[in-house]
């Protein structure tokens, strides 16, 4: 959309296939994540001493699992692959923005729209796999059938908001730095990049948490747990 949007920086073009910077940097982030994962899981150990990277990754995964368990009141390992990957991908791609020459792929509306669409379908898939088709779609008519259009519009608008929130935050951060580089170089862009890192991490957290909250609200079935019956 803008000059520095990664979609207009084209690396390769053959036939009708163009490789723009968004795709290349997405592949870079994917490769980076897989490489780190492979590096850490080569030699996993159970008792101390464990390597520092394993400790770090265990802390992150454990924190994500506890957050998901708090939100969904359910076994977190069902939702961990989806929410955890969202958080890791967005966080790493925002953090790597301080590497010179790297433009975060989440600063392109296409990437964030793709992630938001993934969340949209994930909500339906998790809901249907938990509750079955009929009771899942009956949810849209709560509390009355007249709420059906509002529920549908609400779903679509929150997907749009997910995409645009992440895109707007990251794109504006990088655009501010790029413009400040031409006005007051040396110190002020560094401060803005620090702010950009902070905002990037917060936005990654918000995206993953919102995805988990949407999934949790779709899969919440009012089950009576056996403990409640006894106590």
């Amino acid at each position: 959309m803008v000059d520095i949007s990664p979609d207009s920086v084209i690396f390769l073009k053959w036939g009708s296939i163009t490789l723009n910077a968004t795709i290349v940097y997405t592949w870079f982030v994917m490769g980076f994540l897989v490489f780190i994962a492979w590096l850490v899981t080569r030699r996993l150990s159970i008792e101390p001493p464990i390597s520092r990277t394993q400790n770090l990754i265990e802390t992150i995964v454990d924190y994500m699992r506890s957050q998901i368990r708090d939100i969904t009141d359910d076994d977190p390992d069902i939702y961990l692959p989806f929410s955890g990957t969202l958080f890791l991908f967005i966080a790493v791609s925002n953090l790597l923005s301080i590497v010179p020459g790297f433009y975060p792929p989440t600063g392109s509306l296409y990437t964030t729209a793709g992630l938001a669409i993934c969340v949209f379908f994930a909500v339906h898939i998790y809901g249907i796999s938990k509750m079955g088709y009929i009771s899942y779609f009956r949810r849209y008519m709560q509390p009355t059938v007249f709420m059906l259009p509002f529920n549908i519009i609400g779903e679509l608008s929150r997907t749009l908001a997910l995409a645009v929130r992440l895109f707007g935050n990251i794109m504006s951060g990088t655009m501010i730095v790029a413009m400040l580089l031409s006005i007051t170089p040396f110190f002020v862009p560094v401060v803005m990049q620090v702010l950009g890192i902070l905002i990037g991490l917060i936005q990654a957290y918000i995206f993953a948490i919102l995805a988990t909250v949407y999934i949790a609200s779709a899969t919440r079935v009012h089950q009576i747990k056996p403990q409640e019956l006894i106590g």
């Binding site: 959309m1 708090d70 929150r158 749009l160 908001a161 645009v164 929130r165 707007g168 948490i209």
Partner: protein, 91 residues
């Protein structure tokens, strides 16, 4: 550039600036109020800080939706303006 194209450009830019300026006042005030309440709640119940923080983030995301809609309109007016594209195409 004839005068109708000038007018389209001028009004679009002016409206884009106005949209985002006015549209971000309300959500900013609302979010800061919600944040103040959340801080008060954390001060009263420090044990629940995690739940309160998470609920705060989710609530902020909801409140921010209106600001996001205004941002989208601004961006459309500046970068994907259908009236400007029509005028440039020689309509």
């Amino acid at each position: 550039m004839d005068s109708s194209m000038e007018m389209i450009a001028a009004v679009s830019i002016f409206t884009a600036g106005l949209t985002i300026a006015i549209g971000s006042i309300g959500p900013a005030i609302g979010e800061s109020w919600a944040l103040a309440r959340a801080l008060g709640a954390i001060a009263q119940q420090p044990d629940e800080a995690n739940t309160i923080t998470r609920t705060l983030f989710v609530g902020l995301a909801m409140v921010e939706s209106t600001a996001i809609y205004c941002f989208v309109i601004s961006i459309i007016l500046i970068f994907a303006n259908p009236f400007w594209n029509y005028a440039v195409a020689g309509g």
